[in-house]
Amino acid sequence: MSFLELRNLSVRLKGSGVPLLRGVSLSVEAGQAHGLVGESGAGKSMIGKAVLGILPRAVEVTGGEILLDGTDLLTLPPAERRRRIGATAALIPQDPLTALNPSRRVGPQITDRLVDILGWTRAAAQARARDLLAEVQISEPDRVMRAYPHELSGGMRQRVLIASAFAAEPKLIVADEPTTALDVTVQKQILRLIAQMQARHGTALLFVTHDLGVVSKVCTSLSVLFAGKVVEETPVGDFFAGPRHPYSAALLAATPRHTAPERALIPVPEAVLAAVRAEVEGSRG
């Protein structure tokens, strides 16, 4: 039994009925990192939002199951679902500046959830926050807890959010493009940190990214999405040795590598796009 399993999950826009996820199935094992890759609009972030129960208002689930530790979240009453997700899962968002409240100090933004929702004492929560900030290699945790978000660099803010995500020892973390806004050198530090934290805490990770290079460093398995449908789900090693689906192969061929300048850079061919579009739309779940 996988820790997180999606079965035939379908999501559409209310009103127009435009399908956003068309019967997505995938599984994430306990303690493992699973990548969600695809081009913009493929539905990567939508899957993460559905799992965390934070879909936009304009969007509705029309079918399928989200099994979190064996329980289908979609069958639970809303309050119970929120409680269950809050106790089990957390998010590392893409943009650390908008995810932090600019008018509040960093410390309370980490400890509030522990105190208000999980019933910790303020002292225990603060001690926990201090330990976690040290664990994400922030050298002066006390100073950072008193700082406002704008006083921190982008990399520091992302470290704060990683610490915050791990605060309540979640069993699952959804990371939504957590390094896209960062410089490549900072990205490397943050990815390493996420991988270390994930291994040390035994957390399952659902890692949303458009960057195949990033997936190859962080994940053990991945799903390739196209237009709201998984076209390939596979271990990372197999994928990079030779993707099975022509669309996955085409994505890989379009990715530039600075180590292979002689290799032609091939955009996804029209024929491949037409075929995968027909496949995805034909199989609407």
Partner: protein
């Protein structure tokens, strides 16, 4: 080398730091460019790479005189344009074009493609504007019928190609491309890079290509300048930069790129 098209000598630029401005008195200044010297020959493609805050966009904007330098010299075809007033710059503007990172915010959403490409042509007094628009669309591989479309009817990659078409339609001597593929999916990015490489070859464009992504720079540029904190830390032909990076910062940038390969030593 023959006379370079662009020559920048010891360029400095500082801006007031309004975040640190005291209640009374002037804001302290932040040094963004700290003595940049470079030359771009006609027909050359120069890559400018660096992290955020390194000054790469500021350098580009200063060269086009969208920002006024604090000190140093900018020469375009040998003529000093460092402090040229706007009226004197006007005739030069058509000869230096800029392609922006985000085509959605740089293309007027209320104008059709024909107007977006044709507007600057009319403003600069070009004749046979429709012909030129059609040829520009041909060059960037879009159907001529796209002239009737609005930006929101195009994909991100197509919008970026309109940005390129608008720049090349004016037959400029110099194009500055500022992070023009960083907002695109890999497939559109590959299309735009291949397109630019083709245009460089066929039209002999002189291009300064600003990017944070060395893999992208390598596809396109003959020579690379690495910026860090407003200074050039390394300047080398592209092949040499990748084969034997000299500056510690260049090596750090190269080592940090995650290749799509789980066996890459990256720890």
């Amino acid at each position: 080398m023959a006379e370079p098209l662009f020559e920048v000598t010891d360029l400095h630029l500082s801006l007031p730091d309004l975040n640190a401005k005291p209640l009374f008195g002037p804001a302290p200044r932040i040094e963004i460019l700290r003595g940049i010297s470079l030359a771009i020959a006609r027909g050359e493609v120069l890559g400018i790479v660096g992290g955020s805050g390194s000054g790469k966009s500021t350098l580009g904007r200063a060269m086009l005189r969208l920002l006024e330098p604090t000190a140093g010299r900018i020469r375009f075809e040998g003529a000093d344009i460092t402090h040229l007033p706007e009226a004197a710059l006007r005739p030069l503007r058509a000869r230096m074009q800029l392609i922006f990172q985000d085509p959605m915010s740089s293309l007027n959403p209320r104008r059709r493609v024909a107007g977006l490409i044709g507007g600057p042509l009319r403003l600069q007094g070009f004749d046979r504007v429709e012909d030129r628009v059609a040829r520009a669309l041909d060059h960037v591989g879009l159907p001529r019928a796209f002239a009737a479309r609005y930006p929101h009817e195009l994909s991100g990659g197509q919008r970026q190609r309109i940005g390129i078409a608008r720049a090349i339609a004016l037959e400029p001597d110099f194009i500055l491309a500022d992070e023009i593929v960083s907002g695109l999916d890999v497939s559109s990015q590959a299309q735009v890079l291949n397109l630019l490489a083709g245009l460089v070859r066929d039209l002999g464009l002189t291009l300064a290509f600003i990017s944070h992504d060395l893999a992208v720079i390598r596809r396109l540029c003959a020579r690379v300048i690495v910026l860090q904190a407003g200074r050039i830390v390394e300047e080398a032909p592209t092949d040499r930069l990748f084969a034997a990076p000299q500056a510690a910062y260049t090596r750090e940038l190269l080592d940090a790129i995650p290749l799509p390969d789980p066996d890459q030593p990256w720890g």
